[in-house]
């Protein structure tokens, strides 16, 4: 399941970078995020709750910053599973920050996520629709948050 997009913000790139990597930011922006803890330089411990109608899942997973090039490029690998064993989840995201004229920064992201197990019995119809929503909410929240960076 691939998702990508971009948005621009008016803020100093370094500040955006710092906020972006701040667990606090992610916690407040990722829909359903219950816990995002930085356990070392590269690793985050996360718990994210998601709900599709009657179906609720709670993914416990580790996100590892597999590649970090401040202040322009991050790669994150996540893997974990639902505590109720409804599914196993693997995800890789790449985020690029690019200075563009007018003191603006273009934030572009590419995410590739796979969910297997019981949740996948559904086929991908519902899951893709849900993922699309999560993506929209996340980027919206993130933009809100980053606006206030300035």
């Amino acid at each position: 399941m691939q998702m990508e997009g971009k948005f621009t913000l008016k803020a100093p790139i370094q500040k955006l970078w710092d906020t972006l990597l701040d667990p606090e930011t992610l916690l407040s922006c990722i829909p359903g995020a219950e816990k995002i803890e930085r356990i070392d330089e590269k690793t985050f411990d996360c718990v994210v709750k998601q709900k599709v109608g009657p179906i609720s899942v709670k993914f416990k997973f580790k996100s590892i910053l597999s590649k970090v090039e401040p202040p322009t490029h991050i790669e994150v690998d996540g893997e974990g599973e639902d505590i109720g064993k409804a599914g196993h989840f693997v995800q890789k995201s790449v985020v690029d920050l690019r200075q563009i004229p007018g003191g603006e920064v273009e934030v572009s992201y590419r995410t590739d996520a796979t969910i297997v197990g019981k949740l996948a019995m559904f086929g991908d119809r519902i899951m893709r629709a849900k993922a699309k929503k999560v993506e929209e909410e996340f980027t919206k929240a993130l933009q809100e948050r980053l606006k206030n960076v300035v």
Binding site: P54, A86, G123, D124, R125, I126, R128, A129, K132
Partner: protein, 290 residues
Amino acid sequence: MKDFEYFAPKTVEEALSLLSQYKGEAKIVAGGQSMLVLMRQGLIAPEYVVDIKGISALDYMTYDERLGLKIGALTTHRAIEKSPIIQKHFGVLSEMETNLATIQTRNWGTIGGNLCHGDPAGDPVPVLMTLDAKLKLKSLSGERMVAMEGFSKDILEVDLEPDEMLIEIQVPVPRSHTGVAHEKLMVMQGDAGIVGAAASITLKSGNGICEDARIVLSNAASIPLRAKEAERCLIGKAINEDLLTEAGEVASKEADPPSDVHASAEYRREMVKVFVKRAAKRALEMARLR
């Protein structure tokens, strides 16, 4: 499947008190044609199941020239499909049911269960929205009426409190010179539409100008989507081929369709054009005859 505690109330009141007693932890099962699959797949494991299928008081259809159509929430799809009343006054409902899944599903599945499941690919919601249907919801704390439009909140989510249940669907008497049609893109007969469109057209008597129009799409957004812009380009005009084409194009701009194994979002947008036009055209022809 996980074990659960099971209740089979025989009356609405019993059911409602169970729901309020186990608020949130209880799941209603009616025909269970959607719910049981999720339970079997281990995607939901309710502590308590309130099986309302046996509440015969909610299995009825009545029609009154003034009050319109009332359908009990536990009326099966098959009963609606076969009902002479429905076929006489709301042919579109019967036709929609004929293309809904298979006979076995329609024999056991209920209209209420379908509406409350909130699947954006479902056919009944768009059709009932074009018919301007209302829903009667009930809990121990009382009754409330909600419009079919607005009942769907998100994928598989509807405007229903944990202690509430759907009691009745009410459909107003069709206005004169009104035609309603439903069309969907099926690869195989009985498929959920890759996209679907229901349209209702009301003409001014005499001059044939479009007085009112309703167009609702399935599988074109995360909830059944009312294509208001498309409606606007028909209302107040004498509808012709070009106008129908335009309505389709406008609707496809309003749509925010998903991309999945059956079709890409781009293709769905194209199909919205085709099916809005097909549904509206057929509705128009019917309106002219009435």
